[in-house]
């Protein structure tokens, strides 16, 4: 790893920790950062412990984890397809996962009440994974020609699949119970509101298991950016590794979607910003992961407190609204770059 990449990774790690602490501190009832640290180390008053550990920490932890998961998923898909636009939120993986999750919320919903234990805890992540994998398989099969993946096709077909999955979601919202549909719609905006540890744990497992798998193939990815023919002549088993990493990327995006909804643009923007800052030829996985974590917790801090800071009221925004507001202009910038052939 180049020293520039190492330094940037350390900076992002420090930022992630700093913003997370700030996020645990700021809110309707303020807990000074010093007290937050004390609580995390096992001390602090009971009231503070409740606010920090029970109310805010699950939310911040989920934010950090889905940030990592989305960002790494985007880095993998962009590298494998050699296209900066090919991230799970653009090519339909998140939409497929959303369709799966919304199907569970709406079809297994109890009409306004909470979804019964099994359907909620296992059903939503499982349905999200199935939906995400289905989208990946369709996009993958349709965009491979003569064993080579066409990056441009990945994006075009992916956008189509995303549209199809989104209309399926819209249809389910229409036929579903009004309260279920309301909850599903809030979830679809990408929200970290009222996250519990049961939301964070599946994403934690996905990150702990899948990130090392991705890093294990880091060096093979370095060869694969030179093209499939060059990589195979360097001894890389291209078809096998691509399939494996596609599955890893899909699972990460699907689990993150199940945990916090399809938070927009994290998977697209984090790898590209990390790529530009490190000046590498492909998004560096660890730096991208940390930047993704920073992006989501920072966006959530703004989403949770932004309207309050503006004295508009005590309302919260879904975090996806903030990431979309920051990410959409960047998407347009990237499209412009590709249009100019650069």
């Amino acid at each position: 790893m180049k020293s520039r990449t190492v330094v940037l990774s350390l900076v992002f790690a420090a930022l992630a920790v700093g913003i997370a602490l700030l996020s645990l501190s700021i809110g309707t009832s303020k807990v000074p950062v010093g007290d937050v640290v004390e609580v995390l180390l096992g001390g602090g008053r009971r009231g503070q412990r409740l606010i920090v550990l029970e109310l805010r920490l699950p939310r911040v932890a989920t934010g950090l984890l889905v940030g990592i998961a989305f960002a790494v998923s985007g880095a993998l898909l962009q590298t494998l397809s050699r296209n900066a636009l090919a991230s799970p939120d653009v090519v339909g993986v998140n939409s497929g996962a959303s369709a799966g999750a919304v199907a569970v919320i709406v079809l297994a919903g109890t009409g306004g009440g909470n979804i019964s234990g099994f359907a909620g805890k296992v059903g939503i992540p499982l349905a999200a994974i199935l939906g995400g994998l289905l989208a990946t398989v369709i996009v993958g099969v349709l965009s491979i020609q003569r064993g080579q993946v066409d990056g441009g096709k990945v994006v075009l077909i992916g956008v189509g699949i995303a549209a199809a999955a989104n209309s399926l979601v819209a249809w389910m919202l229409v036929i579903g119970d009004v309260n279920d549909a309301g909850r599903a719609a809030a979830w679809l905006a990408g929200s970290l509101n009222a996250r519990a540890w049961s939301d964070a744990v599946p994403v934690l497992i996905a990150v702990v298991v899948l990130l090392p798998v991705a890093i294990l193939f880091n060096r093979d990815l370095s060869a694969m950016v030179l093209g499939d023919d060059v990589a195979s002549s360097l001894g890389v088993r291209v078809a096998r590794i691509r399939l494996l990493l596609l599955i890893v990327a899909t699972l990460l995006a699907a689990m993150a979607t199940a945990g916090a909804g399809p938070i927009a643009f994290v998977a697209l923007v984090a790898p590209q910003v990390a790529l530009r800052l490190t000046r590498m030829e492909r998004p560096p996985l660890v730096t991208t992961a940390l930047l993704g974590a920073v992006f989501v917790v920072l966006a959530d801090l703004v989403a949770r407190n932004g309207l309050g800071w503006l004295h508009v009221g005590p309302y919260e925004l879904p975090v996806g609204v903030i990431t979309a507001a920051a990410g959409a202009p960047y998407l347009l910038h990237l499209i412009g770059r590709q249009q100019r052939g650069r």
Binding site: R82, R146, L216, R219, D220, S222, A223, V225, L226, G227, D229, V230, S232, S233, L234, G235, V236, R237, L275, R279, M280, E281, R282
Partner: protein, 258 residues
């Protein structure tokens, strides 16, 4: 390295290369030429593992290349495909370092041996001073030499290059061919290069293979092979072959209007 009764096809179509047998001279530069669609690039893909043959085999040091583990083959046989795409932002030295992939473990920095191989490869293509430049900022000829340095750094005793001079002007093509020739002669590598320029091939090759319609039409020393009769029969080209310092030069006959 030898090719035995090799039949290559893309899908169920009629074979592009049919039952071809070829003995590649060791430690020499072999050039494969032929008209468009004669199967010369396909043959090269079949000689590496980029294309699985329908029948026949390619034997390297006594072993069928399709039976070797991928990494082991990558330490014996380097391949530069036609028109490789350079990723944006990569520097010359970084690209060359990727050639060390089959020698490296999962983790860890480049070893002293890796660094030495990279330095040597960059020196061989005379790009040491441009090593930290992004490859996309280099000229076409320099870029092609970086790619050749990448396969040189792979440190393989056998090298296959598919049309390394395509799209280069003559001066740059000569630069590239000098590097390829040195790779065979100063480092005693077995080099096979597909070329479309007959005169360039004849200037540099120790062994010239002329392909036509998926078969070998002629092979041997360039002076013996490259005759006016052969050019007419294989390429449908009316030309005069002139001997310049022991190497045949192809001068096409003009057919001027009016």
């Amino acid at each position: 390295m030898h090719v035995e009764n090799l039949t290559l096809a893309y899908g169920p179509d009629s074979p592009v290369v049919a039952g071809l047998t070829l003995e590649v001279p060791s430690g020499r530069l072999t050039a494969i030429v032929g008209p468009n669609g004669s199967g010369k690039s396909t043959l090269l893909r079949g000689m590496s593992r980029l294309l699985t043959p329908q029948s026949g085999q390619v034997v390297l040091d006594g072993q069928d290349i399709h039976k070797l583990p991928a990494r082991e083959l990558a330490r014996k046989l380097g391949v530069l495909p036609q028109g490789p795409v350079t990723p944006e932002g990569i520097t010359a030295a970084e690209l060359v370092s990727r050639g060390r992939h089959p020698h490296r473990g999962l983790f860890g920095r480049l070893t002293a041996a890796d660094d030495a191989a990279i330095d040597e490869a960059l020196a061989a293509v005379e790009l040491t001073e441009l090593r930290d430049r992004p490859v996309e900022q280099l000229s076409g000829g320099q870029r092609q030499r970086v790619w050749i340095a990448m396969v040189l750094a792979q440190g393989t005793p056998h090298l296959l290059l598919d049309e390394p001079t395509t799209y280069l002007d003559l001066a740059h093509a000569v630069d590239v061919m000098n590097v390829v020739h040195a790779a065979a002669h100063t480092a005693a590598r077995t080099v096979v290069v597909v070329l479309h320029d007959l005169t360039l091939a004849a200037q540099y090759a120790d062994h010239l293979v002329v392909m036509g319609e998926g078969r070998i039409a002629a092979q041997g020393r360039p002076v013996d092979v490259l005759t006016e009769q052969l050019l007419d029969a294989v390429f449908g080209l009316q030309a005069t072959v002139v001997d310049v310092g022991g190497a045949p030069v192809v001068v096409p006959d003009r057919r001027l209007a009016g």
